[in-house]
């Protein structure tokens, strides 16, 4: 896992192979080895991208997608951690919720997208629900495993000092299981993004996913690639942000 952060410390050597691939792609386009309509040259794509950013056209769909994603992700994280902790600390709640969670969890969440469209109609609420549904289970399960895997001495110590249940959870259970919670949230981040893009593609009114499929169907390939690059930047940006937050919150991660 620690190698991953090394990559972001982009050394010049690391830029070498992407540069080679890009220049092969560029020359292949220039020499007409590939159909320029199907695969525009990187320089053309970059130019389109620059235009998109310069005239501001990139921002409304990007913000739309980000807003949907963030709201769904935050809801999922809060729900996942709350239910995960509840199930791990209370046998009764475990009994009540475990069968329900085990029934809902294995459903591939992408299959729920058309169901939710029928059910909630097409709109922002549906998109947010889709993201939240996809993201909640990884968070829930790794929170549960994190809390269950805690050193019993920690909890016994709290009990010795007659710490209240609430206080034990807030100041002992949550901090100690934070690495696991974050591991779940990392998985949820990728899944949530997949689902928001899918939902936008299937019935979007706006957003990056909608743009990509719309432009492909309109055969505006250069613009489509530019939007895919926007999406790559979005995905990469979110991942980096996550790494940053994680390193700040759990500085001891990967060092034990």
């Amino acid at each position: 896992m620690s190698q991953r952060s090394d990559v972001y410390r982009t050394s010049l050597l690391g830029l070498l192979s992407p540069a080679i691939v890009l220049s092969i792609w560029e020359t292949a386009g220039l020499l007409g080895w590939v159909n320029p309509i199907l695969l525009p040259r990187p320089s053309q794509i970059v130019w389109t991208l620059v235009e998109l950013v310069a005239n501001g056209a990139v921002f409304p769909p990007l913000l739309y997608t980000v807003a949907l994603f963030v709201v769904g992700y935050v809801i999922a994280s809060i729900l996942g951690v709350t239910i995960g902790v509840a199930m791990a600390t209370s046998e009764t709640l475990y009994g009540v919720l475990e069968p329900l969670v085990e029934i809902l969890r294995p459903i591939p969440k992408s299959a729920l997208v058309p169901v939710l469209f029928l059910f909630l109609g097409i709109g922002k609420a549906t998109m947010i629900t889709v993201v939240a549904l996809a993201a909640v289970f990884p968070v829930l399960i790794s929170t549960f495993q994190g809390v269950r895997g805690l050193d019993p001495v920690l909890l016994d110590t709290a009990r010795t000092f007659q710490t209240s249940r609430m206080r034990t959870i807030v100041s002992i259970v949550l901090p100690a299981s934070l690495p696991m919670i974050l591991a779940g949230m990392r998985v949820a981040l990728g899944l949530g993004l997949v689902l928001v893009i899918l939902a936008e593609m299937l019935a979007g009114e706006d957003g990056v996913g909608f743009r990509i499929l719309d432009l492909q169907r309109a055969f505006q390939i250069r613009d489509m690639f530019a939007w895919i690059f926007v999406l790559v930047a979005l995905g990469g940006g979110l991942m980096m942000l996550f790494d940053l937050v994680e390193r700040r919150l759990v500085p001891w991660r990967g060092k034990t």
Binding site: L16, Y94, G95, L97, K109, A111, G149, M201, Q216, G236
Partner: protein, 271 residues
């Protein structure tokens, strides 16, 4: 790191007594589900929620049985599973191979890791539209998309796993002048197996998601296509029933995986 594991994974060490108590507690959960289903049925029958998309549960179960008898759901499911299986096999083989090679060779790491890291954050649905132009809308496209989605978790876990292999093992192999290929196969691969298994497990759940996604965006068969078709045909009962079958499939695969893992890698989680 077994994020995609089950809730039960950690309870294995518990005593039989607490297991029995747990089973007793689980009755409440079953009651809860029954209550939800009952509420669903009643609310639909009595018209509390007036919507064509809110069919009573009994109607969905009925649809599920008719669907199963008709056989077309099995055909769709089989088409999806076939693609998922091929994509999974290709993606995970490449993931393990590249994970180990890149983990051991600095040259390959410098050459390939940046490229992999660039492609990794792309959400899978986004690669489908451009790929349609090159691969068409047939199996090649879907299998490619599934392999891609499978590849990343397997690769990341394998790669991280190789890094944690005890150096003494490798030194020992070198002392005995074991060849490079043999060291990879006989020393590094087995030592990385638990990490690989964790990656594979994450990948199994992703595989099914992406199989359905690709069929929805560019489908002509399979369960994803079926779902979208039923959405347009305004047959929510058949849709819910299909989701149910998909859930059963997902659950079975996960179970199967856990059984295989316990059988094949008995040292999993014991180090």
């Amino acid at each position: 790191m077994s994020v995609a594991g089950t809730l039960e994974g950690t309870s294995r060490k518990r005593t039989a007594g607490s297991n029995r108590r747990r089973l007793g507690k689980r009755v409440y959960g079953v009651v809860l589900i029954a209550a939800i289903l009952l509420f669903w049925e009643v609310s639909s029958r009595l018209g509390w929620i007036v919507s064509a998309y809110w069919p009573p549960v009994s109607q969905i179960f009925q649809a599920a049985i008719v669907q199963l008898a008709g056989g077309d759901i099995l055909v769709s499911l089989a088409a999806t599973l076939r693609r998922a299986a091929i994509g999974f096999a290709v993606g995970s083989t490449l993931g393990v191979a590249l994970g180990i090679l890149l983990g051991r060779s600095k040259v390959l790491r410098i050459a390939l890791l940046p490229l992999i890291e660039i492609v990794r954050p792309i959400p899978t649905p986004a690669v489908i539209p451009p790929l349609i132009m090159f691969l068409g809308v047939d199996d090649a496209l879907k299998i490619f998309a599934i392999s891609l989605a499978t590849f990343f978790p397997v690769f990341t876990n394998t790669f991280a796993g190789v890094a944690t292999v005890d150096d003494t093992l490798i030194q020992t192999a070198r002392t005995f002048r074991t060849s490079w290929a043999r060291t990879l196969l006989r020393v590094i691969l087995p030592a990385t197996l638990p990490a690989i298994a964790a990656g594979l497990r994450t990948a199994t759940s992703l595989t099914l998601v992406v199989a359905v996604v690709s069929e929805m965006i560019a489908g002509s068969s399979g369960i994803g296509y079926y779902l979208v078709e039923m959405q347009y045909a305004l047959r929510p009962d058949l849709m819910y029933a299909a989701v149910m079958y998909l859930a059963i499939t997902g659950y079975t695969i996960n179970r199967l995986f856990l059984v295989l893992e316990a059988r094949l890698i008995p040292w999993m989680g014991k180090t």
